[in-house]
C-alpha cells in the first residue's frame, strides 16, 4: 500500500466502521455462519450482509476477526487466472 490517500482512507474507514455504529441489541445482524461464508465464498452471500457490515460495528469487528484468522491461516484459494475463476463460479 503506497498511496498515502489510501492509507488515510483505510485508517478513517476502519475507525468509523468499528466505532460509530454501536448495535447493542444486534438488530438485524447476520449469523456467524453467514459471516464465515462471506469470508470464504463472498459470491454466495446476499448483498444485504455486506451492506450491514458497513453500518454495524459489532458485526464489522466480528468479520474483521474472521478475515484476520483467514489471513493468518493463509486460507486463500490459489489464483488460476480468469478462466479458472469462471470455472469455479459455474
Amino acid at each position: 500500500m503506497t498511496d498515502p490517500f489510501e492509507k488515510k482512507f483505510l485508517r478513517i474507514l476502519k475507525r468509523h466502521l468499528s466505532r460509530d455504529f454501536p448495535n447493542p441489541k444486534r438488530a438485524g445482524c447476520p449469523s456467524k455462519r453467514e459471516l464465515n461464508l462471506l469470508a470464504a465464498e463472498p459470491a454466495k452471500v446476499e448483498a444485504w450482509i455486506v451492506e450491514h457490515l458497513l453500518s454495524c460495528s459489532p458485526c464489522h469487528l466480528a468479520y474483521s476477526r474472521i478475515l484476520r484468522k483467514q489471513k493468518t491461516k493463509r486460507d486463500v484459494p490459489k489464483q488460476s487466472g480468469k478462466s479458472g475463476g469462471a470455472a469455479a463460479r459455474k
Binding site: F5, F9, L17, P42, H60, Y63, V76
Partner: protein, 251 residues
C-alpha cells in the same frame, strides 16, 4: 537455620529470623543487639516494622524513602475477573510492584485502577505461563520483564480509553467542539455515502483491504485478476477523492 521468637508484645505476632548471629563480645540480651541478615515479618504494619527496626538497630537495613512514603503493596492471588495468579508470578509481581505502580501512577493517576490492572496483568501472565507449560513450549525467559510489559500494555490501553472518553465528553459538551471534529464527522458521512453507492464486491474488497489482504488474495477469492480487483477499488477511491475536493475537505 530458622529461629522463631515472640517480640515484647504478643500483638506483634511471630518474627521468623534466619542466619542470626549474636555480636561477639556483646553483653546485651538477644532481642536488642542482633545482626539480621535476613528477616521476614508476617502481618505486621509498616509502623510496627519500623519500631522493631529501631529496637534491633545494629545491622538492620534502614527502610528507603520510597518504602516509607508508600505502604507495602499486597497483591491478591485472584484478579478482578476471578482468575488466580500463580505463586511464582505472584512473587515476581510483589518484587516489581513498587516501581511498576509508581511509574503507572504518573501516567494514569488513579491507584485503584492501577492495582486492578496490575492484578489483571499478573493473572494473564500466569495463564500464559501455564499454557506454555501445558503445551511444552519453552518457558518465559525473563518473567519480570514479561510481567512489566503486560502491565504497561494495559496501562497504555486504559490511558487511550481515558483520552477517548475525554474527547467524547468534549464533543457532547459542544462548547469545545473543534473544526477538526466537524470535518471528521463530514468525512464519515461522506464515507457512508460513497460506500453505499458502491456495489457489493467493491464494498467487500474495501473490507478486505482494511485487514491488509493483497490484491492477489482478493482477486483469487473473487475469481478475478488482481488487476481487475485493484481497478474496481481505485475507482471508488477516486470518487471519494473527488467528493472530498468538491466539499472542500482536505484529503
Amino acid at each position: 537455620m530458622y529461629i522463631q521468637f515472640l517480640t515484647d508484645s504478643p500483638k506483634w505476632g511471630i518474627i521468623r529470623l534466619a542466619n542470626v548471629e549474636p555480636l561477639v563480645g556483646s553483653q546485651q540480651s538477644w532481642g536488642t543487639k542482633l545482626v539480621l541478615k535476613y528477616y521476614e515479618i508476617n502481618h505486621l504494619h509498616e509502623t510496627r516494622r519500623r519500631l522493631l527496626a529501631s529496637k534491633c538497630s545494629t545491622g538492620y537495613p534502614m527502610p528507603s524513602k520510597r518504602e516509607t512514603s508508600r505502604p507495602a503493596f499486597l497483591l491478591n492471588s485472584v484478579d478482578r475477573l476471578g482468575r488466580s495468579i500463580d505463586s511464582g508470578v505472584l512473587a515476581v509481581a510483589q518484587e516489581i510492584s513498587l516501581q511498576a505502580l509508581a511509574y503507572a501512577e504518573k501516567i494514569l493517576g488513579d491507584p485503584a485502577i492501577i492495582q486492578d490492572l496490575f492484578e489483571e496483568a499478573a493473572a494473564a501472565v500466569s495463564e500464559a505461563v501455564e499454557t506454555k507449560k501445558a503445551s511444552g513450549k519453552p518457558p518465559v525467559r525473563d518473567l519480570r520483564a514479561y510481567l512489566f510489559r503486560a502491565f504497561m500494555r494495559r496501562i497504555s490501553e486504559e490511558r487511550r480509553k481515558q483520552i477517548a472518553a475525554m474527547n467524547r465528553s468534549e464533543w457532547l459538551d459542544g462548547s469545545k467542539r473543534t473544526t477538526q471534529s466537524v470535518t471528521s464527522l463530514e468525512m464519515n458521512l461522506l464515507l457512508d455515502e460513497v460506500m453505499a453507492a458502491c456495489d457489493k464486491m467493491t464494498q467487500e474488497i474495501a473490507l478486505r483491504r482494511l485487514e491488509g489482504f493483497s490484491w492477489d488474495e482478493i482477486g483469487a477469492r473473487y475469481g478475478i485478476s488482481a488487476h481487475a480487483a485493484r481497478i474496481r477499488y481505485s475507482k471508488a477511491l477516486q470518487r471519494i477523492r473527488k467528493a472530498l475536493k468538491e466539499r472542500g475537505i482536505e484529503g
